[in-house]
């Protein structure tokens, strides 16, 4: 066994580094595809204009991605406004209030919800939520910002619930007992003892939800109406960065300007999601740092 120790150590070392290597490789390859356009494109236009007319047959195109960026953040943001309370509430109920039998049933339900493919969520947006929004919310077009947000919220909730629930269950029972022995009722105990104790896990759960919502493609492509405009109300159709890449990639030939700009959108998305993760890390570290002071 002793002579295996070194090779095994190298193997796990490689496994450990592979994640960093993959991230670096992804950045490199996407940058390589987008590189030729980076020097040509007008970045002021890219970030401030909403005119998106990809070049065709050699004519120069316009690439204003503002509406796409706003659409992406709007749909994810509205989704999280719904998903955080719903997900955390569900996690608290499952972990603290539900009987063991109810808990098991709900957990199975949540796992099933997590297993629904994103394209199926898109169908639901298209066929179930869309008519509801037209009939009851006064939307002219049923596929819009709100529709996409509802779908994204439903998609992120299972992730938020299962991770928050793990975080809450990881809090030692002695904390619960100590809180309740002081005469706190159950809700006060949850809010004042469990939430602070589990805050890192809960924050991680929410951040993963945000990541999922920002990066989601198929469901928002079907549910948001695919219209390149800055939304002025919840029921305006929008378009996101992800949906743009997915829907236009087919029309763009490799090596063309349009193709390269789509990769540029990809870089932008990557930067956004990495930044969200980084912020989450810093927030968690910040809370730890404060605790150590």
């Amino acid at each position: 066994m002793d002579r295996l120790e070194k090779p095994i150590e190298y193997l796990v070392r490689l496994c450990g580094w592979s994640s960093i290597i993959s991230v670096a490789a992804i950045f490199i390859f996407i940058f390589r595809e987008a590189a030729p356009v980076i020097s040509k494109i007008n970045f002021i236009e890219f970030f401030t204009s909403t005119e998106w007319h990809p070049s065709k047959h050699g004519e120069p195109g316009e690439y204003g991605a503002l509406a796409l960026i706003v659409g992406n953040f709007a749909v994810a943001g509205v989704a999280m406004v719904m998903a955080f309370p719903l997900g955390l509430g569900a996690a608290v109920f499952i972990s603290e209030f539900a009987s063991p039998k109810v808990r098991e049933t709900l957990k199975i339900g949540i796992e099933l919800l997590a297993a629904v493919p994103s394209i199926v969520w898109g169908f639901i947006g298209l066929t179930v939520i869309s008519p509801l929004l037209v009939d009851h919310a006064g939307a002219e077009i049923g596929t819009n910002l709100l529709n996409g947000s509802i779908i994204l919220a439903l998609m992120s909730v299972p992730l938020i619930v299962s991770i928050s629930e793990d975080a809450l269950r990881a809090v030692p029972d002695s904390y619960r007992e100590a809180g309740l022995a002081l005469g706190a009722n159950k809700w006060e105990m949850v809010a004042r003892v469990l939430f602070p104790a589990a805050k890192n896990g809960l924050l991680a759960a929410c951040m993963l939800g945000v990541g999922r919502a920002v990066g989601e493609t198929m469901a928002v492509l079907l549910a948001t109406g695919n219209t390149n405009q800055i939304p002025h109300s919840l029921i305006d159709p929008i378009k996101t960065l992800t949906a743009t890449i997915a829907s236009e990639m087919n029309d763009a030939a490799r090596g063309e300007e349009h193709f390269q700009v789509l990769f540029l959108l990809g870089i932008l998305l990557l930067v956004i999601t990495c930044t969200i993760n980084l912020i989450a890390d810093l927030v968690i570290k910040g809370m730890k740092g404060k605790a150590n002071a």
Partner: protein, 276 residues
């Protein structure tokens, strides 16, 4: 309220305790266990316990592991409710009020301070650990909270060590400090009854002695139930001592009598450290 006649007839049923109790004049006990039995599923944890604790005294509860000491404490503040398999029969009366059927357990728990064997610093700052319970009952004034926090931390002999670090997380304190923080928290509502479940397990002897001194002063304000593995601690502090063994109350009585003239041979052997 129990008339002396009822009390004595119940204690007579207990047989052993009757003789020893006849000597204490206890008109209205602050806390009274009457024929209290607790079982966890098929396992009996306490069998027919009857003890009376007069106001402003210390009851020391001693006995080997698994004799039911902690279970007895849990029946006082109804944290026994958290154990779904637990079944409680008989009566626990707090100042004449029946505890086992009390509707508002939150109000009950605010009247009873509880210190667990292992320190549980809540994931809050030192200050907020102590201010937790007062805030819950609506004490919000900064000056008032400051006063409570300082008083409780002084009473638990922790103030000098933490007065400059009140916004540090309570969980960052050492084990012994956290245990004193737990004591401070238990004192924060000025409870009528203070239950201590082997509070000195995680504390060094010097600090233990300091806390014992404080507890002897606190006795003027509250009744103390002290579960301890250290028979000498019971000897130092308790007015009455109850000896539990194998889920039963072997006997109980005044400190001096229990240590010097126990009714049962096994009591003497345990209190003298010959088994346990």
């Amino acid at each position: 309220m129990n008339t002396p006649a009822i009390t004595s007839s119940i204690l007579l049923a207990d047989g052993v305790s009757s003789a020893s109790t006849s000597s204490h004049q206890m008109n209205s006990p602050h806390l009274e266990f009457k024929n209290l039995s607790v079982s966890y599923g098929p396992k009996v944890a306490l069998r027919q316990i009857s003890i009376q604790v007069p106001k402003n005294t210390v009851l020391g509860i001693v006995g080997p592991a698994n004799s039911g000491k902690s279970t007895l404490l849990k029946t006082i503040n109804r944290t026994i409710d958290f154990i779904s398999t637990a079944r409680v029969e008989g009566s626990v009366a707090l100042a004449g009020e029946e505890v086992t059927t009390m509707k508002n357990v939150y109000a009950l728990r605010r009247r009873i301070g509880m210190v667990f064997p292992l320190p549980v610093g809540l994931p809050l700052t030192v200050y907020e650990n102590v201010a937790f319970a007062p805030r819950r009952i609506g004490v919000h004034g900064k000056a008032e909270l400051d006063e409570i926090v300082e008083r409780c931390l002084r009473d638990s002999v922790l103030w000098d060590e933490v007065k400059d670090r009140l916004d540090m997380l309570g969980t960052k304190l050492s084990g012994g400090q956290q245990q004193r923080l737990t004591l401070a928290r238990a004192l924060s509502l000025s409870p009528e009854i203070l239950c201590l479940d082997e509070f000195s397990i995680a504390i060094d002897p010097v600090t233990t002695m300091k806390i014992e001194d404080v507890l002897m002063q606190l006795k003027e304000k509250m009744t103390i139930i002290l579960v301890t593995n250290l028979t000498q601690q019971a000897r130092r502090m308790a007015d009455h001592v109850a000896f539990l063994n194998d889920s039963e109350l072997v006997e109980w009585g005044e400190n001096e009598a229990m240590f010097n003239r126990p009714k049962k041979e096994i009591t003497g052997r345990y209190l003298n450290g010959e088994f346990g």
